[in-house]
Assembly symmetry: C2
Homo-oligomer: 344 residues x 2
């Protein structure tokens, strides 16, 4: 089963590094247990689907951000407080719900190297299961007893969906500009990642200004993460990434490399790319995909996207300047670097 983003390869030397890494790893296991316990049902048809979702836990980016932001706010190498685990489980469940529904919308068959719920049990079951998981996230969140956290999670759900709706609206819009792209990504991807970090800080007692710093850090991280996803969707290896690739192109979603390419290519190259991208629901053949990758390379568009992600990561790290030095902070900084170096 794929596990949390491999932080061990980004060693965090210095006092307490090993202890924090161990505490985070333990917290991730506790999050998985909390999610499973929250979703568990006495009804076998429900339970079977929820058990299948256990294979959906991937890099655990949101839980790790909750926990590390909490630990960086109130450093401790002891057991991660139960509240942080609960909040981390909430953020992971909101994410799981969006994955289940995204796979319906994308007609995807593979997720984390296993069948998607829609593939396994049909679109109807997948739509209902997503609602079940989203409701469970809110039920669990309310047990924290902090109405502002519950409201923030609910509002983030709205933001995510609004981003998805606007993305749908712009589907096949071949003149989408970078400004709109970044606004879309901020809503549909970065918002939940940002709130994971800012609420982790809040739950650990951090003041509003510090919460905002963690939020700004993670929002940029989330955008860099999405750009890396765009790159992997175009040029990644499905066996390594573990989900259906080429779906963005197939669904007419413009990604950063493509947007840059269309804005900078010669009229002839632009025309050819538009032909490759143009037909709605057109699944590019293998040869066409290779041609597209080559075209994107010729205008430096893949490099442009990569550099944009890298500079976002550098900016993100500066957002944490006011956070006191700690092993948890160092791990957050390592995590930021890992976002753009990952191949899955």
């Amino acid at each position: 089963m794929p596990r949390m983003m491999d932080l061990s390869s980004h060693a965090t030397p210095g006092p307490g590094g090993d202890a924090v890494a161990a505490a985070v790893a333990q917290a991730c296991l506790d999050v998985e247990r909390s999610v499973a316990a929250t979703l568990a049902s006495d009804l076998p048809p429900v339970n079977t689907l929820c058990r299948h979702l256990e294979q959906y836990h991937g890099k655990m980016v949101r839980p790790v951000l909750v926990v590390l932001s909490g630990l960086a706010t109130a450093p401790t190498t002891e057991k991660v407080a139960g509240g942080l685990v609960t909040l981390a489980a909430v953020c992971e469940m909101v994410h799981l719900a969006t994955l289940v529904h995204d796979d319906v919308l994308d007609e995807a068959d593979v997720r984390r190297k296993t069948q998607t719920v829609n593939r396994l049990a049909g679109n109807e079951a997948a739509v209902i299961l997503g609602d079940y998981v989203l409701s469970a996230a809110f039920a669990l969140c309310s047990t924290l007893g902090d109405a502002r956290i519950s409201e923030a999670i609910g509002r983030t759900g709205m933001t995510l969906c609004a981003g998805e709706l606007v993305q749908l609206h712009h589907r096949e819009n071949l003149s989408l500009d970078e400004r709109t792209y970044f606004e879309l990504v901020r809503r549909k991807t970065s918002s939940l990642i940002a709130v994971s970090a800012s609420l982790g800080c809040r739950l650990a007692g951090g003041p509003d200004a510090l919460q905002a710093r963690f939020g700004a850090f993670a929002e940029k991280l989330g955008t860099a993460f999405q750009i890396q996803d765009d790159l992997l969707d175009i040029a990644g290896d499905q066996g390594v990434v573990g989900k259906s690739l080429g779906k963005d192109m197939e669904k007419g979603k413009l990604t950063l490399p493509v947007i840059h390419h269309l804005a900078t290519a010669t009229p002839a190259a632009r025309g050819r790319t538009l032909t490759l991208l143009g037909a709605p629901e057109h699944t590019p053949r293998q040869g066409e995909r290779a041609e597209l990758i080559e075209s994107l390379g010729s205008t430096g568009s893949i490099d442009h996207a990569r550099r944009t992600a890298e500079s976002l990561v550098q900016e993100a790290k500066r957002d944490l300047d006011p956070v006191p030095e700690s092993a948890a902070k160092r791990m957050l900084l390592s995590m930021a670097d890992a976002v753009v170096s990952r191949a899955y």
Copy 2:
């Protein structure tokens, strides 16, 4: 536009009747405003869909139950407290979210005499919009500042979805028994109706035991309501009901009249009914639908369902015995009678 269940035809004579009826009518308008304000977005593609949902408000059963249960707990003919309006808007939004997703699952084209969201904007937009509305319901709920209410709403969302998943599991199960049917209905329909009443009581300061009475009353009401929906789906007039009919049969969902019929018909009649119902995704032709209605009548199955709904209503009314006499209580009792007399 269809408005709240017509309570005026069930006159509630006695002191304060008119004032409470006026307060409830005003509260329903306030609920519609609260829902619209909560869903409003600065993004035009989102706003267009949310505006379309304004036509989805129907009988306002859940908001009316919240408000009347609150008023019956702490009788007043003055303005309905803002908290009750907020809670009523939350319950209505959870309901709206399920309608939007149900219409995707049922491939329905018409709802409240207008286009469904899936028909208007496609399945993808409808799936995302449902998530948006559900998230908005939770965000709004948390502003009440009562974690137990938020948890109850989240758990009710889970119960609803679990009921839908089990219903899906039993699709085309032609030997579904009444016990399983009632369990399904309790989850997928009655749970939200029950929680509307019990939380309305809670918000007005009612003790746990009284909350349970309101919940029991409304749960039975919800089941009677579903049976009436079953009857309308089989024998209603689409122009009056205002939504696509015959969908239960088409989707292989067994309804109470059909379950009773299959359990009591002669082998020959049963065989013919199974043929009519048998083919998955089979849309009965007009003549077949008439034949099915006649068969159900011949075993007294339509009467059986009608009588079951009526006796549930009588039991429900007795659940309110411990509630002190008031105009709001009388209106709840009238509402119970209206459930089984409605034609839409």
